[in-house]
Symmetry: none
Subunit: 140 residues, 2 copies
DNA sequence: TTCGCTATCTATAATAG
DNA sequence: TCTATTATAGATAGCGA
């Protein structure tokens, strides 16, 4: 559509590419709004340019969030696996630390029945040292 | 574009609406692919029809997930508030527990210099009790 | 619903300022 | 870089099968 037809491949000339981008972006956003209204459908459109600028739209009375939820209903692909994975991993790590400390505290309370004589020695020492420190501080 | 121009408002006739939807959907997906290639940009397009069917596309070498991540970099709106919120809350809770145990362990090691006399008493007792238990176990 | 057709409308490539 | 212009390519509304 224009003075000549163009091949669909990356426009190498930077300024031509920028001009075409501006025009086509306006065009596609217009189309997206039109189809949303004419056909009463939910539309989400996000474009991120090479320079990192983003434009997004979605159909009236919707949010991208809503539309992403719809996406999840229909697709196996999860939109945020990485993010969730990371959060899950973080939880696991902190829980692991937690567990270790629970065990240590139990030991210091003399609550673990499965320890043998040799395992009890460092615990006894820790308690003795702790007691010394605490008494020293109380006295000061 | 067509035998007559149409006003941009919902097409009430159901079959006309369906036909227009099919045509325009094809058109907009084509445009989306073209701009992605021509201008080397990331595009995500999701359309959910009234009857609940969904179509989605995104630019080559990208995933919707990637593009959603980009969206998050640029927008205040979170696309998946609930899920993330829950995970964050869980992390906070576990971290809080963690912190409490770290403090308790420090106290039992006599490491906290900001405690007063009265705060030290229960710690001393805990240590004494722990020591009694551990020694009892060692002896058994 | 889904083609095919085509007159028309729209988007836009090329260009100039 | 934007903006405006315009000739053309492309999209599509209305119809018919």
């Amino acid at each position: 559509m224009g003075r000549g037809k163009i091949e669909i491949k990356k426009i190498e000339n930077t300024s031509n590419r920028a001009v075409t981008y501006a025009k086509r972006k306006a065009g596609i956003f217009k189309k997206a709004k039109e189809i949303a209204i004419l056909c009463d459908v939910k539309v989400s459109l996000i474009i991120v340019s090479g320079s990192g600028k983003m434009d997004a739209m979605c159909s009236p009375d919707n949010s991208l969030s809503t539309i992403c939820e719809e996406y999840h209903k229909h697709s196996k692909e999860k939109l945020w696996p990485a993010k969730h994975e990371n959060l899950h991993n973080e939880i696991e790590m902190v829980k692991k630390e937690n567990e270790n400390m629970v065990i240590e505290l139990r030991h210091l309370n003399g609550q673990d029945i499965n320890l043998n004589h040799y395992e009890l020695i460092p615990i006894e020492e820790a308690l003795e040292n702790g007691l010394i420190s605490v008494r020293a501080r109380k006295a000061s």
